[in-house]
Symmetry: C3
Subunit: 329 residues, 3 copies
C-alpha cells in the first residue's frame, strides 16, 4: 500500500466542547427531574430557538451530531417534532419511526441491546415504547442521553414541558393562573404530568371530567399535599367564565360501557364557539392533540385557540433539550 494522504486536518478542526449547563449528558425520563431553575433554563433556551427559527430557520449548533429516533409505536406528531428540532439545529437523524416490525426485535433482541447498538452510531436516543419503565431501562443501559418520548401509560415529559411553556408564553406568567383540565383525567398521562409541573407554582386548578374519568386518587392527593387550591367538577360551565387556561383532552367514547351515557355527558366537555363567548377575553384553550370532536372547528379561528401554537412550542422545547443534553446550550 502506498502512503495515504490524510483525509482530515485536525489542526483546523476545533474539537467538540460542551457547556457546563448542569444538563449535559442528562437523560430526560420524567417531569420529576425538572425544578423551577431547570424549567427557567429550558424555557429561556426555547425562546432563543423560537427567535432563531423565525429569523433564519436553522443553525449549525448540532452539526456533526446524530439523533436516533426509535419509535416502537408510531407517533407522527412526536417523531416529526423531534426530527424537525434536530434538523433545525443542524444535526442528523436516524429515523426508526414507523413502529413496525423491527428485525432485531423480531429476532428477540432486548431493548437494552437495541439501545446499546444505536448509541454506537448516535449521540442521543429518543425512545417511544409501549411499556412503562422502558425509557428508564434504556437510560440505565445507554451511555448517551435517552429522551423519553412516551413510555406507554408512564410519562411523556417533553409534552408536559411544552404545555407549561405554552402557558408561560401565552399568558406571560404562571403564578396566579386559574387552570382547568378537562376531559379524560384518569387515563390521560399529559394531564397528570402537567399537573405535577404546576405544583411548583402558585396556581388554582380545576378538574372537569365525567365521574368515571376523574383524576386518579394519587395525583389528586399530590395536589392537596402541595397546598394548591384545587377542586373537581363535572361541568365546563363551572369554570368557563373564570379560567385562564382550558386544557382539553379527549373523552374517548370507548371508555364508556354504555354509549348512551357518553352522548348524555359529552356536551359538558365539548368546547364550542358558543361556550367560548362566555370565557375571559385573555385566556387560552390548549389540547395535546389529536382531537376528535372535543374542540369544535369553529373555535380554531379564535385567537384564544392556542393548540397549534402549542404544537410549535414542542419543537422549540425539544430543540432546547437536545442542545442542552448534548452540551451545546
Amino acid at each position: 500500500m502506498t502512503e495515504l494522504k490524510p483525509l482530515f486536518n485536525f489542526d483546523q478542526l476545533p474539537a467538540k466542547t460542551t457547556n457546563s449547563n448542569g444538563l449535559t449528558g442528562m437523560d430526560v425520563i420524567s417531569v420529576d427531574q425538572f425544578d423551577p431553575d431547570k424549567l427557567a433554563y429550558i424555557f429561556a433556551r426555547a425562546r432563543e430557538m423560537r427567535e432563531m427559527v423565525r429569523r433564519v430557520g436553522g443553525t449549525d449548533l448540532l452539526k456533526g451530531y446524530v439523533l436516533a429516533c426509535l419509535f416502537y409505536e408510531p407517533s407522527t406528531r412526536t417523531s416529526s417534532s423531534f426530527i424537525a428540532a434536530m434538523e433545525r439545529l443542524g444535526g442528523s437523524i436516524i429515523p426508526i419511526t414507523q413502529g413496525v416490525k423491527f428485525s432485531s426485535v423480531s429476532k428477540g433482541e432486548t431493548l437494552a441491546d437495541t439501545v446499546r447498538t444505536l448509541e454506537q452510531y448516535a449521540d442521543a436516543v429518543v425512545l417511544r415504547h409501549p411499556e412503562i419503565g422502558s425509557a428508564k431501562l434504556a437510560a440505565d443501559y445507554a451511555s448517551v442521553p435517552v429522551l423519553n418520548a412516551g413510555d406507554g401509560p408512564g410519562e411523556h415529559p417533553t409534552q408536559a414541558l411544552l404545555d407549561l411553556f405554552t402557558i408561560r408564553e401565552e399568558l406571560g406568567q404562571i403564578e396566579g393562573l386559574k387552570i382547568a383540565m378537562i376531559g379524560d383525567l384518569k387515563n390521560g398521562r399529559t394531564v397528570q404530568s402537567l399537573t405535577k409541573l404546576l405544583l411548583h407554582f402558585d396556581v388554582s386548578l380545576r378538574f372537569v371530567s365525567p365521574e368515571i374519568l376523574r383524576l386518579p386518587l394519587k395525583t389528586m392527593n399530590q395536589v392537596i399535599d402541595a397546598g394548591i387550591d384545587a377542586r373537581e367538577t363535572h361541568d365546563v360551565a363551572d369554570v368557563i367564565d373564570n379560567a385562564d387556561v382550558l386544557y382539553v383532552t379527549r373523552v374517548q367514547k370507548e371508555r364508556f360501557a354504555d354509549l348512551a351515557q357518553y352522548e348524555q355527558v359529552k356536551d359538558y366537555y365539548e368546547i364550542t364557539a358558543d361556550l367560548m363567548a362566555k370565557a375571559k377575553e385573555k385566556m387560552i384553550v390548549m389540547h395535546p392533540l389529536p382531537r376528535v370532536g372535543e374542540i369544535h372547528y369553529n373555535v380554531d379561528a379564535d385567537p384564544r385557540a392556542a393548540y397549534f401554537r402549542q404544537v410549535q412550542n414542542g419543537m422549540f422545547i425539544r430543540m432546547a433539550l437536545l442542545a442542552a443534553v448534548l452540551g451545546q446550550a
Copy 2:
C-alpha cells in the same frame, strides 16, 4: 438562574429574504395553475438545478428549511424524488413515507389537523393521499405551501411538469411535435394531466388504446375545444413512423374482464426493439414508470429510450418548484 450567554448572535445571521417570483408561497395542486410563463420559469430554474447537480451535487439554497413528506400511500419513486430534491438544495425532510398506520390518523385525526400540525414544524408539505381533492383541502387549511404528490384519481401535477420538461429538453422544443399517448388512457391520470399542459402548445396528439381504455370524453372534448390536431387509434403501428414522442403507460391486465381479450390486444401496445426500428431517428420513448412489460427491456439501450432521464428530470423540476414556492428561486 444565572444569566445566560446567548446561543446566537443574530447580528451575524442575515434574516431570510424571499424572491418576488410570483410563485412564493404558492400551493402546487393542479396543472391548471401553470400557464406558459410559469412553465418557462420553472423549466429555466430546473435547468439551473440540473447544471448545479451535475457540477457539485448540492447547494445550500434551502439550508434552514424543512419539508414534511406526508405519504398516506407509499410511492417510493415520488417520495424519493422529493426527498433528494430537498436534500440537494441543502434543506431537511420529515419522512412520513411508508403509508402505513399513522397514529394520529388511526386515532381519528382529520387531514386538516394533521397538516396544521406539520406546518408548525415544516416550511412546506408534500402530500400523497388516496382521495381526490385532499391536496386542495390540505392547502386550504395550511398556511405553508402544499405540493400535491398525487390525490388518488385526481391530479399529480409535478409528474405532468416533469413529462413536459422532458419533451422540451429531449427534443429542443414543444411546438410542432407529434405526440402519441399509448396504453390505458382512461385511468392514467398522467396522460390526462400532460394532455392539459400540451393544450398550451401547437402540437399534434394521437391517442392509442384498446377500445375499453379510451381517453375520457371530458379530456377529449377539451382537446377538441382547444383546436388541437388530435385523433384516436387502436394500434401503435398507426403512429410509430411519424411520432416525435411515444408516451407509454401501463395497460393493466386487471382492467380486462377477459384475460384472453388482453392477450389478444397487448401486441398492439407493447414497445419492442423491432417496433423501434420503424420509428424516426430523432424521437423519444417516455413512460411514467413503473412498467410491467409494455416497454421491453431490449429497448432500454436505445438512445431514444428517455424514461430514466425522465425520472431524473422529476428531481430537477421538484427542486425548482421547492425553491420557487419557498421564495428562494
Copy 3:
C-alpha cells in the same frame, strides 16, 4: 418571461473531483473483491473516520452526495449504520428502510428498474434484499456504486469487513491469531464471509458447533486448500483457554427438530462469566448481533466483550467504503 437572475455562480463553486484510489465507482458485492492491499486501505481510512468522529462528530467530505438506502427487508442495525455513516460524512440519505410494501414493487416493478430509478436521484445505492444474487444484479444494471447490505443467504461483505477490522484494532494484528467461530456455522453467512477474508492471513481457525450446524463442506475445503491450521470441535471448552478471538453466533433453537436436543447441547455454546474466567487475559469476544442468549449479560462488563465496539466499527468501515467508492477517500 423577464430575464432570470442566475441562482448559482458556478465560477465560485469548485467542481467535484475524485481521488484515484482504485475503489472509485466500485460496487461492493462480495468479500472476494478485497485483497490484503484493499483491506489495508479501507482499514486505514476507517481509522481516520474513527478519529474524526471522536473529535468532531462529522465532516463535509460527502456534502452534496445522496445515498439511497433500499431495504427490501428491515434491518435496523445495518440500515442505521449506513445512515449514520453517510450523515457523519455530511451526505444525505433517501431512507427506504422499513422493508414493507414498496408501491412500485407491489405494482410488479423489477429490481433492475427500481435501482435504475433510484440512481437518477442518488450517487450510490445500499441494497438489502432477501434473494441471493440480487446485489450483483442491481450492480449490473446501475451505473452508480451498489453496496450489498445482505442478499439473503448470499453475502454481507460490510459485516465481514467490520469483523476483520475489529480483530485487527482490538488485538493489534491478525497474523498468528487463534480464532474460534462458535454456534451455527452452517447457516450463518457472517462466519463464512469472515472465514474467507481470514484466508489471506496466517491464522489458526477452530470451528465449534453442534454436529447438525457444522461449517459447510465447501467453506471447510477452502480453508484446507489455503493451508490454514483448522479444526472442528463440539465444545467451547476445547478452545476457551487458548483462543484470541471467540466469534459467537446464534444457535437458533428452531434449527433443532427436537427441542430437548437443543437444551442438551446449548451449554456447550453459551458464553458466561464463568467460562470467561478460563479465557486468556488478552482476547476478545465478538458477535454480529442480535444475540438471544448465547452470550450472557454478565459478560457485558468484561473488557474483553468487544461486540458493541464491533458495532461501532461497522459505522467507521461503512464511512470508509462510502467515501472511497464515491471518490472522496
